[in-house]
Symmetry: C2
Subunit: 190 residues, 2 copies
């Protein structure tokens, strides 16, 4: 279960509340793993039961209690174990390809509309990733340069997003082109 391990990952750096974790997800891994708030709270409760994390209740007069979660030794070894074990292959689920697969019943115009729509959002995503990459790698003044190696791995996940969007765009363009000239014959493969 990946969410659990992502949470352990964040807590291995620093103890956090559920709320902090939500922010951490949104800020850093949302582009390949989003988590919603209620799911985080539920999972934390579960992880507490399993002894992977410990909770410390911070009472604040007049305000809601805050619960700070810390990783336990069990949690740490579980994390390390998960991080170093190759995952089973996962099945892709691309609803968009279902539309394409059954595209035979649609007109060229209808299909091109779909493809262009997809292309637009792929381009936007690519640009967004690019911008984040530029922004985060820009040399900053007065900021403690966190461990360069750790930073490198977070950049790698961004590069993945760019690379896969580029591939998507390439595929979309090739499809659009062929539909436009009504060439429905297979591609010659090398």
């Amino acid at each position: 279960m990946s969410l659990k391990h992502a949470i352990l990952g964040f807590l291995s750096y620093k103890s956090l509340s559920g709320y902090d974790l939500k922010k951490a997800f949104d800020k850093s891994v949302r582009h390949f793993w989003s988590a919603n708030q209620s799911q985080i709270y539920r999972t934390l409760a579960q992880m507490t039961d399993e002894g992977l994390v410990e909770r410390e209740v911070v009472e604040r007069e007049e305000r809601l209690d805050m619960k700070i979660y810390s990783i336990t030794n069990t949690g740490r070894s579980e994390l390390h174990n998960w991080l170093t074990t190759p995952l089973p292959e996962r099945e892709t689920r691309e609803p968009f390809l279902i539309q394409i697969f059954f595209g035979g019943t649609l007109s060229d115009e209808e299909l091109l509309k779909l493809l262009h729509h997809e292309s637009k959002s792929a381009k936007e995503n690519l640009l967004a990733y690019h911008a984040i990459y530029q922004a985060t790698t820009a040399p900053r003044v007065g900021e403690s340069s966190t461990d360069a190696r750790s930073f490198f791995f977070s950049l790698l996940t961004l590069e993945y997003g760019m690379e896969s969007n580029r591939a998507l765009l390439k595929w979309l363009n090739s499809a659009i082109e062929r539909i436009e000239v009504k060439n429905y014959s297979p591609k010659a493969l090398k």
Copy 2:
């Protein structure tokens, strides 16, 4: 809900039983949308209630009844409507990237092991897609060439699989290379 619409897609060609549908999924769309048997039966029951499909019970002496599902007019218009409506953007979920993101705590060796593992399966997938492509596009004797345009769309879904695997491989190779030479600096983007 994509499963529902994929089922409608298959039924728009031909009336089928739940069992037939399972085979249809496994044979043609499994590489981007897998469905398991119990899910298909449950969804068919639901779709019958919604009036998207109709069931005809075929009694066979000595054997289990067979239920053949046909698409209704409501089903057809629902399908067409879904096929022509761009889907909301979906969030990627790549557990593998969680491992990379928190890779800072792992050794280079541990990380390379993960990356090579992923690379191996990407290569295998690519080869498999290639082989299917070759096999299905090879000129055959005495086979009714189904509609070339419809066939083209099914090929497109395969091409997508190849393109995205190529991108994955490219990314993996770049990551592996940089880790091997211990160059953890950001890439210069164009």
